[in-house]
């Protein structure tokens, strides 16, 4: 019974923790599957969080309760556009993708903080008035045990994140576009020979990853921090990147990894209220998520194999 209690109080937390990571990690999967390493996820999340908050603050009066959803969309679009920079550098100019990604991280944070100071005269914005709120799903939340666990006090956005993961799996594995995208990441020359434009596919993949990372950043800002400052996104992008690898470059795997991170995190919070773990010193609970992650990465997932052409710019006609 105790385990069920524990799970019941944990699940909503797991989902709100994971949602931003799921979005961003799927974005990472798209980009890396097409052969473009995207270290810039963190920066793209920063951009998403920033534009989401700015839009929300500016238009809350006009759009009322619709504002958070529109903020999300705007954040995705802004980050999508922002990610073109990475695409240009990494695909067209064949720059080192890691360097370019790091540049994205630096520029995004710089631009975000600078504009916040310019526009709001302070290191962080005000709190938004129209954030996302948790809701309980009608009828479904009345189901015993499961209803309490998965359908009450949950952000709808968490369901959307999971839906996106499934959708991403479908696109990558069941559509011609997905096949092309993966082939470009595995063997661009073969794909090119078959008449697939490597450049075009990679551009699209990077922009999709920008869009999704923007959604992730905005989700974080609109559900948890409710404002934007230099430290709003601190490491979530890299967590997502880890989730991509942990999930073996598979959208559902990445989602699972993100949920696992959320699980480990909330275990460390909720756990201390339960008698079994009550005597464990605080420090161990705090480091638990990281230890679990390292163990999982080192022991349980087996060999993680990246797409073959990941990180290598494609030069036409070059063997």
């Amino acid at each position: 019974m105790q385990i069920i209690d524990l799970l019941q109080s944990m699940m909503p937390m797991v989902l709100f923790y994971s949602a931003p990571l799921i979005f961003t990690a799927i974005g990472g999967v798209f980009s890396e599957r097409s052969g473009v390493v995207n270290i810039g996820l963190e920066g793209l999340m920063v951009m998403g969080a920033f534009s989401g908050i700015v839009f929300n603050l500016s238009f809350a009066e006009m759009f009322g309760t619709l504002t958070p959803w529109l903020s999300l969309l705007v954040a995705g679009l802004v980050s999508g556009i922002f990610s073109i920079m990475h695409a240009v550098a990494a695909v067209t100019l064949r720059a080192n993708q890691v360097v370019s990604g790091v540049a994205i991280n630096m520029i995004a944070l710089g631009v975000g903080v600078f504009l916040t100071r310019e526009w709001y005269g302070s290191g962080q914005t005000n709190s938004i008035t129209q954030p996302f709120y948790t809701r309980s799903v009608r009828f479904l939340s009345d189901i015993p045990i499961i209803g309490e666990m998965f359908f009450s006090g949950i952000y709808y956005i968490a369901y959307i994140a999971i839906l996106f993961a499934i959708l991403a799996w479908f696109i990558l594995y069941k559509t011609p576009f997905g096949l092309r995208l993966r082939s470009v990441g595995e063997h661009p020359m073969a794909a090119d020979t078959n008449g697939i434009s490597v450049t075009k596919i990679r551009y699209v993949a990077v922009i999709i990853s920008g869009f999704l990372a923007g959604l992730g950043g905005a989700t974080y800002a609109l559900t948890i921090s409710l404002n934007f400052g230099g430290a709003t996104i601190s490491g979530q992008g890299f967590m997502s990147l880890a989730a991509v690898i942990f999930g073996k470059w598979h959208p559902l795997g990445a989602m699972g990894a993100a949920i696992f991170f959320g699980f480990a995190q909330s275990l460390s919070v909720v756990g201390r209220n339960f008698p079994i773990l009550a005597d464990v010193p605080n420090v161990y609970l705090i480091i638990a998520p990281y230890v679990l992650t390292i163990l999982a990465l080192a022991g349980f997932i087996g060999r993680a194999e990246a797409p073959k052409a990941n990180g290598e710019p494609y030069i036409k006609g070059n063997r």
Partner: protein, 369 residues
């Protein structure tokens, strides 16, 4: 295989570089640059005294600690007709690596008095101060034993005691919550004072204490608050910097879902009324306000009049009006609570109640109740 190496390398790189990026990405160096540029045109009609401060990682516009200190310096400057850039200024630090360069930079510009704002600057101030005996330094929230350093700390336990009183009166359940940042003797004073305040009013109330071991992990604050409010706790006091944002988010979310659920947050360092606004409702019961500006002004005045309290440890508390309890939320902060808080405040001022600062003192205090 090559890819795998790349990824590992990339992750390391990214981690290192973005951490570094925090330091260089924004326009923080301008503060110190400004100062150097305008150094020439010293105005002669004003007094010959200059004061500067080095922020901690929060930055000068953190709406909290650093900003308050800077406001104190600005007020001091305005009062004496000083000019920014030549007679008063600040240097912003984005990470711990900036502390030393910032201090040295201000030192080279011959400031008479340099503040280190925040306990994180302790080591840096200590080093610079020992090498520059002629300049006066002051550290806020920490204690340094040196003849040219004035240490200022606050009696946070007094303010925490009073908000504990408010929490105990407001609570309808049999438990109240406390969310701490990184566990340290400093945050311990908040915790202990709070517990003492709560127990003084109602010895049967339990206090659930959670430390996030961070001052920035909002998700952690959110999770703690979720779990506390979920278990029926109705008042949470946070002493955890940005972690507290998560507590506010959770409280606001609960009010949105169920306006009748009694959830309250007690803010820290400054009046956090604004953070608690949810529609027509406000979840900020009160805030434990630390007037860093008062402290900075006071020390500056002393230094100006040649009575710089070097080597002394100044503790500012209720009697200096450097610690206060916010009463902005008049709907929640009822007259009954206000009166009780005033009453306890008077007792502390009269020395009738000595608020404990450590676990041992707390035990003795609770035994004496």
């Amino acid at each position: 295989m090559k890819n795998k190496h790349w990824l590992i390398l990339a992750l390391l790189f990214a981690a290192v570089l973005t951490l570094g990026a925090c330091g260089t990405a924004d326009e923080d160096d301008t503060a110190t640059d400004d100062a150097t540029e305008t150094d020439e045109d010293t105005t002669e009609d004003t007094i010959d005294f200059s004061v500067a401060m080095v922020t901690d990682e929060g930055g000068v516009d953190d709406r909290s600690f650093n900003q308050s200190a800077w406001e104190g310096i600005q007020a001091f400057g305005a009062e004496h007709g000083l000019e920014r850039g030549t007679h008063y200024n600040y240097a912003q630090s984005d990470d711990a690596a900036d502390y030393m360069p910032n201090l040295n930079n201000l030192l080279q510009q011959d400031y008479n008095l340099i503040f280190g704002v925040g306990f994180e600057l302790r080591e840096a101030v200590e080093q610079v101060a020992s090498a520059n005996q002629d300049t006066h330094f002051s550290i806020i929230d920490e204690v340094i034993e040196a003849d040219n350093v004035a240490s200022v700390t606050f009696a946070e336990e007094q303010g925490s005691f009073l908000v504990g009183v408010a929490a105990a009166l407001k609570a309808e359940s049999d438990e109240v919550g406390f969310v701490g940042g990184i566990s340290s003797p400093l945050i311990k004073r908040f915790e202990v004072g709070y517990v003492a305040g709560v127990k003084s009013v109602n010895p049967d109330l339990d206090v659930r204490i959670n430390y996030a071991e961070s001052f920035s992990d909002e998700q952690m604050g959110r999770s703690f608050a979720n779990s506390m409010y979920g278990d029926g706790i109705d008042v949470i006091y946070h002493a955890s910097g940005a972690v507290g944002n998560g507590v506010f988010t959770e409280a606001r979310n609960r009010i949105e879902n169920n306006p009748d659920q009694p959830v309250w947050v007690i803010g820290v360092d400054r009046d956090q009324y604004e953070e608690g606004q949810q529609g027509d409702h406000n979840v900020t019961l009160t805030s434990m306000v630390k007037r860093v500006d008062v402290a900075v002004q006071e020390i500056s005045e002393m230094a100006l009049s040649g009575e710089f309290p070097g080597g002394e440890h100044i503790i500012l508390g209720l009697e200096d009006e450097a610690i206060a309890v916010a009463d902005t939320n008049s709907d929640a902060y009822t007259d009954e609570i206000r009166e009780a808080v005033e009453e306890w405040k008077q007792r502390i001022l009269d020395g009738e109640v000595v608020v404990p600062q450590t676990d041992e003192e707390l035990e003795d205090y609770l035994d004496s109740l």
